[in-house]
């Protein structure tokens, strides 16, 4: 039996009063894919940050190759052969691919020879098994390509432990498959791969062992053969989740709230036609590049379509700006919480009132704080937002709670049509189920929802119907009652075009 490459012994980490990790032990063997699962806030990120030298443990020791070693900073982690890639890749947008890969490479002297650098970069990229021009500027790369750059960077440093933190959360199914293949290949070459994911199916697909952690504690480490998905979920949440992606009851009515016909945005999508009924959740499935977000933005008036018609509540409309769409009762909840959704340093209550500030003005034009508080409390109760109080800055909340604050901000507008872009990306299973419930409640109360989601189990559980797109084309509309993950994927990958 070979020696573990990295071992954490009884690591604890405290931040001020809160305990992020307590007595955590984990052993990583060369050549294994070791999955780590746990709800958001379970301590996974803290553990990674200790492995990569960003945080120092409060107590406990770390062994590298069987010898005690302190990982005092990112450079020390790299020297030990430990590298990490994240859901949001850490690239330098202004530098090109080759420069990104070799940014902390000090091996080849003081002078940079761009051509030589690009050749070395090309070799690494080929080893991963993809195509990417090393001279491209990183700001134009897709998320998947950026992650590849990060993997190549790790490989350039002779990586022995590669930590992948939610690497597939933002990728299309095809890209995710490719990434898992890369993880497997690296493990085959003797690298210990730490794989963190919310997608249980991929954990079963690639990992050799699974460690479950909860509330900063180690719960179990088992061979993948000895684990079931239900058992894993039970251990993660510490309770039976009866309604984990339970099939929602249909509430669709006959009233058509949105009628889209032959909608086209030149060069982006074409000939999109569908109806959305009041009380219905229509999910939009597809791979990345399917142009679902572009379609959503066109409906919301951000980029008006070039041709085709949109009938909203029976009337033909032309939303030319988001403001017009908002006034008509449409809300769009963006997939990028940080960029478009929330003012991170601002309090929960300020975020909730942000889109409807005029409702909070006194006759003198001053903000009515009492009313702001009241509305905020109403939503924190209704949506079960977990925070010390409504004055807490949003940046302090977990992803799931941030998502709920964003939802509260838009619900506060009393919309009739909610457009959701990836509402549960990167949030834990418990929070996912809550968001699903909130969306179902919203439509049951007479609203309608259009949900863009790449999470197929979610699409199948929450949607009434599924609208599948591929590269700007409508591939078909499925009824969730008789759809499966396979039928959706067949359409999304273009293996079959359903007669529309």
């Amino acid at each position: 039996m070979s020696q573990p490459v990295l071992r954490l012994n009884g690591i604890s980490k405290h931040f001020d009063m809160t305990k992020a990790l307590s007595d955590m032990s984990i052993t990583l063997m060369p050549g294994e894919v070791h999955a780590i699962v746990g709800e958001n806030g379970a301590g996974k990120s803290t553990m990674i940050k200790i492995m990569t030298g960003i945080h120092q443990p409060t107590s406990g020791t770390i062994d590298v190759d069987g010898k005690a070693r302190s990982i005092s900073g990112p450079q020390a982690a790299r020297d030990a052969g430990i590298a990490a890639i994240y859901q949001e890749p850490m690239v330098f947008p202004d530098l090109d691919v080759a420069e990104n890969i070799f940014i902390s490479d000090n091996s080849s002297g003081l002078l940079v020879r761009p051509a030589a650098l690009r050749n070395r970069a090309r070799a690494l990229i080929e080893r991963i098994g993809i195509k990417l021009d090393p001279s491209r500027i990183a700001s134009g790369l897709t998320l998947a390509e950026q992650q590849t750059v990060e993997i190549a960077r790790a490989l350039s440093q002779d990586v022995r432990v590669l930590i992948m933190d939610e690497p597939t959360a933002s990728l299309s199914a095809h890209e995710a498959t490719l990434l898992r293949k890369i993880a497997k290949t690296l493990a085959g070459e003797g690298v210990a791969v730490v794989y963190i994911s919310h997608r249980l199916e991929e954990i079963f697909e690639i990992s050799d062992r699974v460690t479950v952690i909860r509330d900063g504690n180690h719960i179990s480490t088992k061979l993948i053969e000895d684990v079931t998905s239900d058992g894993m979920i039970t251990e993660m949440v510490g309770r039976e989740v009866g309604n984990y992606f339970a099939k929602a009851a249909g509430t669709a009515t006959n009233e058509i709230i949105l009628e889209v016909r032959n909608l086209t945005l030149d060069g982006v999508f074409e000939n999109i036609s569908f109806d959305l009924h009041r009380g219905e959740v229509l999910c939009m499935a597809g791979l990345v590049g399917a142009r679902r977000t572009d379609l959503a933005l066109a409906l919301f008036g951000v980029t008006p379509p070039t041709s085709g018609t949109i009938k909203y509540k029976g009337e033909t409309t032309h939303f030319t700006t988001p403001r017009v769409a908002i006034e008509a009762g449409i809300a769009y909840v963006s997939e990028d919480r940080r960029k478009f959704g929330l003012a991170m340093p601002m309090a929960i209550k300020s975020n909730i009132s942000l889109a409807t500030l005029s409702d909070f003005l006194s006759p003198l034009g001053l903000l009515k704080h009492a009313r702001e508080d009241k509305i905020a409390h109403h939503f924190t109760d209704r949506l079960n937002i977990r925070a010390p109080d409504v004055d807490t800055p949003v940046s302090m909340l977990s992803g799931g709670n941030q998502q709920k604050v964003m939802l509260a901000k838009w619900l506060n507008l009393n919309p009739e049509l909610l457009i959701f872009d990836e509402p549960t990306r990167g949030i834990d299973i418990g929070a996912k189920a809550e968001v699903h419930d909130l969306i179902r409640t919203f439509v049951a109360d007479g609203g309608a929802a259009l949900v863009v989601s790449s999470d197929l189990p979610e699409v199948l559980a929450m949607g009434d119907r599924i609208f599948v797109m591929r590269e700007g084309h409508q591939m078909g509309i499925l009824d969730t009652a008789n759809a499966t993950q396979e039928t959706v994927m067949i359409l999304a990958t273009g293996q079959l075009q359903e007669a529309v």
Binding site: T52, I54, G73, P74, Q75, A77, R78, A84, M90, V91, F92, P93, D94, L95, E99, I103, S104, N106, S108, G109, L110, L111, V112, S135, I137, G140, R153
Partner: protein, 341 residues
């Protein structure tokens, strides 16, 4: 063909185009405009600003700003002047080294406060701008350096004609400044540690994760900017000879303007010192041409200058966007044809 040129090079071409347009415009407005004298005037005054803008660029690339740079130029010019006045036998190179090191010392103060005390650079350098200036007032005791007390080699140095091309005179100060800019440019593009400057400005978090000592990089940028300001202070002394407490006043904003006009991203991460040099030339050219433009009165000069700076930045931005679009569509075409073949 355009698709193969890197964006930074395209940006410099775009700037040269704007520069050419400005020249063309004023040649229709001002009689006897395009001649050797214009070149000689611009090159003399740009020699100082180019060095300062070069240092400012290094700082801006790391997502910081140095507003104290004008005060450093003033202090170094005065201190160097009083040193040579009291010790006229000092060797030229020793004197220049003294200026550079003195400037670097001021840079060290800025760098320590920004990088290690974690105070935003705009606040630090706003403070040190006033502090360094007050130090100059105190140190000078309200006296001035005058040309009469300076050795002749120093006063003659900036105007020494190294070589001529036609009626264009290449004077020592300008040649030194251009050589320094080229040296810094080569260092930025070819030296491995210099890449870290861009990395830190491009994505500080990722730089930290990649094991780059971001504090040291920022510290170093401020030191270099200080050293370049010190050299500029030396040139300032040599060119003007008479140094009062207001020497170098306003240089900090002009250097930021030169860098930004020269395509340096004010949010950090990208930009070249060659661009900053052309930016400095452009700002100076516009400023100097306006003096000779009959249509514009003295009082409107600043306003026109400001407008022209905005216009040139806008023109540059539009040109860049066009060129990048062209690149992208080319790239798409090539990948499509690759797929088909």
């Amino acid at each position: 063909m355009l698709a193969r040129i890197p964006p930074q090079t395209l940006r410099i071409f775009a700037l040269l185009l704007v520069l050419f347009t400005v020249l063309l415009f004023f040649s229709t407005q001002v009689p006897n405009y395009l001649n050797g004298r214009l070149f000689n005037r611009i090159s003399s005054s740009v020699a100082i600003m180019a060095l300062i803008a070069c240092g400012q660029t290094l700082v801006i690339i790391t997502r910081n700003i140095d507003l104290s740079i004008g005060s450093i130029v003033g202090f170094v010019a005065f201190a160097t002047g009083s040193l040579i006045t009291n010790n006229p036998d000092i060797q030229p190179l020793v004197l220049a080294t003294y200026s550079i090191l003195l400037g670097a010392c001021f840079g060290v103060i800025n760098g320590l406060l920004v990088a290690y005390a974690r105070i935003p650079s705009i606040i630090v350098t706003l403070g040190t701008m006033a502090l360094f200036r007050s130090a100059l007032v105190e140190y000078s005791d309200a006296k001035s350096i005058t040309t009469n007390n300076l050795p002749t080699w120093l006063v003659e140095f900036p105007n020494t004609q190294l070589f001529n091309i036609g009626t264009f005179q290449f004077r020592a100060a300008f040649v030194v400044a251009v050589l320094v800019v080229i040296a810094v440019h080569i260092a930025l593009t070819r030296l491995r540690p210099a890449r870290k400057l861009y990395a830190v400005g491009s994505n500080p978090e990722a730089a930290e994760m990649a094991g780059i000592n971001t504090k040291l990089v920022v510290f170093f940028a401020f030191c270099l900017a200080g050293a370049l300001a010190g050299l500029a202070g030396f040139m300032f002394l040599a060119r003007f000879g008479t140094i009062t407490v207001v020497a170098g006043l306003g240089f900090e904003l002009k250097s930021v303007a030169s860098a930004v006009v020269g395509g340096v991203n004010i949010f950090g991460g990208s930009g070249t010192v060659i661009g900053a040099l052309i930016g400095a030339i452009l700002v100076d050219l516009i400023d100097m041409s306006l003096v000779r433009w009959q249509l514009v009165s003295e009082f409107w000069r600043e306003a026109v200058l400001g407008t022209l700076i905005l216009l040139s930045v806008a023109a540059d931005a539009i040109l860049m966007r066009r060129l990048i679009k062209l690149r992208v569509s080319r790239e798409k075409k090539t990948t499509k044809s690759e797929v088909l073949s």
